[in-house]
Amino acid sequence: MLFNSFEFVAFFPIAAGLYFILPKKIKPVWLLFASYFFYMCWNPAYIVLILATTVITFASGIFIGRASSKGSKKAVLISGISVNLAILFVFKYFDFFIDNLNRVLGIFKINPVSSPFDFLLPVGISFYTFQAIGYVVDVYRGNVESEKNILNYALFVSFFPQLVAGPIERSKNLLTQIKAIREKNLFTFEAAVSGFSNMLFGLFLKTVIADRAAIVVDRVFGSHYMFGTFELLLGALLFSIQIYADFAGYSLVAIGAARVMGIKLCENFNTPYFAVSVSDFWSRWHISLSTWFKDYVYIPLGGNRKGKIRKYINLLITFLVSGLWHGASWNYVAWGFIHGFYRVVGEITKPFKERLYDGLKVKKEAFSFKFGKVLMTCILTGFAWIFFRARSLSLALSYIKRMILKFNPWVLFDESLYTLGLDRREFGILIFALLILFAVSVIRYKRKIDVGDFLNRQNLWFRWVCLVLLCVAILVYGEYGIDFDSAKFIYFDF
């Protein structure tokens, strides 16, 4: 059940409506039931996996809480994490492992082995596995108490708004709120309106911007060998837009849906394309994942506490793992490596850059300086997205090679860019929608509030006009329906 489906339009009011009217004691049970139903709409069989993860990590938490020695706590922690990672490995990475093993065996002329499994990747497995692992580590570290009520915990792992693509919640935030459901009324009218506004804007980002940009992106990346520099640049640019609108759109719907029910999820995006450096980008992009990696990978590896060289290695390892988390393919690993490389080079060159700016008397407070940094960050991240979007490492390299060598400026003038799937009108709609996104991003950047809270602070007429126009825009200009191969949210695959 996709957020951008009529099934969800029917499901959500029922789920949220009953949640409001049921007695407090029943509310978590209902939400758990709704969450499992939501998940089973993809594939009922995979409910077993989420149940397994829930039971294993719940039990791990209990045992860690009860263990008397640090050693036994650690043993439970390691076994709990290992079992969960093993499940993730089997369902997500096993084929990748076999493929690479066969390549190695091929070098030594040994017969390849075949995969004993033929699984479809369970939706959201990386998200709820990481969320559950995070909980176990937090209990081990003593950051949170182990949860004693399995229903509360099961809801924490499977809460439907964020189940399949995050935000990856921390138990301190979400589990605490879930436990409070039985005791107090979390609902407020303002939060519900704000949540509804966020949901609408999220759907707008997904259906009007992301899926429209995807038409050109799919065409260009699907047959990049037909195109030259400027089509490929456009494809890369539009993919940067697509993935942001897609994932930020999803996150807004998730955050909004939870907010309607009085539950506050953590922030996941904070105007990432306004970042002034790659480091800044990662503090704004997929925040729940980057902080997860920071807390549960980078810091345990030693972070920046063990000297510069170790810091650089830790950064590289963290980004390589992050790349692998996104997908079982070398292009994702390359994408992670590039970002790690950016970070390391950024750290190394920082003092030189500062000296250079001072020497050249660059006005660092000027808009142009900041704009230049934003632009450079966009170019760097945009370049890395090519590896993310291409289906393999070799295709990404071939894409970049053509982008450099097949210089064809005439396509900017002969209207052939309008033959890539979006005609003049469709490009117009996309640009207009992007202007709206830009305006909302500026508000977010300057006033530090999301679109839901911004609209809540406006007069009624303005809020209503915006919401009605958003609804109409989604229904009319959204990419969906019978002639459209409805795209999943990109991050559902991770």
């Binding site: 009529f6 009605v468 109409v472 229904l475 200009y477 959204g478 969906y480 019978i482 002639d483």
Partner: protein, 470 residues
């Protein structure tokens, strides 16, 4: 108390917002919805919805074969029979059954003819025809039944909700998505066509009667129609319009079914001679009759209807104004064809001069004096002098009177005339050879290098009838 007031205030706010949102979406849907069943905004379904209850006596159900082959206006003209074509392009079996049921919600016809062309296919090959058949009905249990029967489970939600299909129409919106298409207010289902195509008699026309076995789906369809006729109490007739039929045995099977069930069956492929069909003049293409052929078939069916049912002559009854308007519309369409074929400016002016609905703009370039054709001789009967004609200008012909409204001079202010609430005629002469000097709103109807340009506007139908040159 304060808290209660706040809750009430919020409930009212939510209700008001829901109402505004619902209204906005409804108006958006009205613009985007699928509007035609025939093409070019002509919709028999809309025409049905514009018809008051219990007026229709005879119904013809079927595909384009029906709306091209049977013109209710001819039944009206001959015997005052209130007939209606419940016909949709490529109407399939499920659609014909449910469209008829839709008609039966408000009408009680005495005779229903169902075209047997639906037997020849189970699924649409043209995507537009799926939409015409499945999306033109108002949402109801009947429309749900149609979608369920035709679509099955695949994509059913898209067809039931409709938005997933119709929302992309924003790419093709035109004037009549926003403004009512006037012929739908009175039309009786026919799609008027004056094209002529020389055709051959269908294969198997003279073959012996050799029915093949009906498929289960075909048999079920015929049975469902039979049962519906018994339930609703109308006389059911099956018929086949003349077309290049390649499967006579299937029609024979339907004939056999009809005979077994006491249903009247008329096969105008076999009995084309009965109505005097001329294959060289009566077809628009191999599948469809033109207006000439339709008159022959319709007039025969008018007589046939009277022979099997007692049908009152409704002519003169104001309640049946749509049939009068429909007949008038037919003659206007005929006149348009005659205008297209008019051999001279004079013959053209004779066709338009007496119709009070027409405003005719005649634009003459000043070089007309050098033309080998004597245009002045056509204008002279309306009191136009040779000098006036040779100096060029714009004349308006209305109710038989020709009035010069504009000289071809730069200095004169624009001539402006409101043709209807939607359209404004403006005439402005900017310079010699300026291509856009006669406009309706922003669309040019100028001479384009010709000596004489003629534009006819129908004020009743609020549309341009013809723009031609002499």
């Amino acid at each position: 108390m304060e808290k209660r007031a706040l809750i009430i205030k919020r409930i009212i706010a939510v209700l008001c917002f829901t109402l505004i949102l619902g209204f906005s979406l409804f108006k958006t849907y009205e613009v985007l919805k699928w509007k035609d069943t025939t093409g070019d905004y002509l919709s028999s379904m809309e025409q049905l919805y514009q018809t008051k209850d219990d007026l229709i006596d005879v119904v013809f159900v079927g595909s384009s074969h029906v709306y091209c082959g049977v013109y209710p206006c001819f039944l009206w003209e001959k015997h005052g029979i209130a007939a209606f074509d419940m016909a949709v392009s490529g109407q399939d079996k499920d659609s014909s059954y449910h469209h008829l049921k839709e008609l039966l919600k408000t009408q009680s016809p005495k005779v229903v003819f169902v075209d047997m062309y639906g037997l020849t296919f189970d699924e649409h090959k043209i995507e537009g025809n799926i939409y015409r058949n499945l999306l033109s009905m108002k949402t109801s249990l009947n429309s749900y039944g149609l979608v369920k029967d035709y679509i099955g489970k695949k994509d059913i939600n898209d067809y039931l909700i409709r938005w997933p299909i119709i929302h992309t129409r924003y790419k093709e919106l035109k004037k009549h998505d926003f403004v009512e298409f006037i012929p739908n207010t009175f039309g009786r289902g026919e799609g008027i066509d004056f094209q002529i195509s020389e055709e051959k008699p269908p294969l198997g026309k003279d073959d012996p009667f050799m029915p093949e076995e009906l498929s289960e789906k075909n048999r079920k369809w015929l049975e469902s129609l039979y049962e519906l006729s018994k339930k609703e109490g109308f006389e059911l007739c099956f018929f086949v319009t003349p077309f290049f039929n390649t499967n006579q045995r299937l029609m024979d099977a339907a004939c056999e079914f009809a005979n077994d069930h006491g249903i009247k069956f008329l096969d105008f492929n076999r009995d084309a001679d009965l109505i005097g069909i001329d294959y060289s003049t009566d077809f628009a293409d191999s599948l469809h009759l033109n207006a000439t052929g339709a008159r022959k078939l319709s007039e025969y069916l008018a007589d046939f209807c009277l022979s099997i049912a007692s049908l009152p002559d409704h002519r003169g009854d104001a309640a049946f104004w749509q049939w009068d308007a429909d007949l008038e519309y037919f003659y206007k369409e005929k006149a348009r064809t005659d205008m297209e074929r008019a051999p001279s400016l004079g013959a053209f002016m004779d066709l338009v001069k007496d119709n009070p609905d027409y405003t005719t703009v005649i634009s003459i370039e000043y070089e007309v004096s050098g033309s080998p054709i004597d245009y002045h001789s056509y204008l002279e009967p309306y009191g136009v002098s040779k000098e006036s004609c040779f100096s060029g200008g714009k004349w308006i012909l209305k109710n038989g009177t020709l009035e010069k409204v504009f000289e071809n001079t730069v200095s004169v202010d624009a001539y402006i005339k409101e043709l209807s609430d939607l359209d404004t005629l403006s005439i402005k002469f900017v310079s010699d050879g300026f291509p856009e000097n006669v406009l309706i709103n922003t669309v040019s109807y100028s001479n384009e290098g010709n000596y004489v340009s003629v534009l006819v506007y129908d004020e009743k139908l609020k549309r341009v009838v013809i723009h031609t040159f002499f």
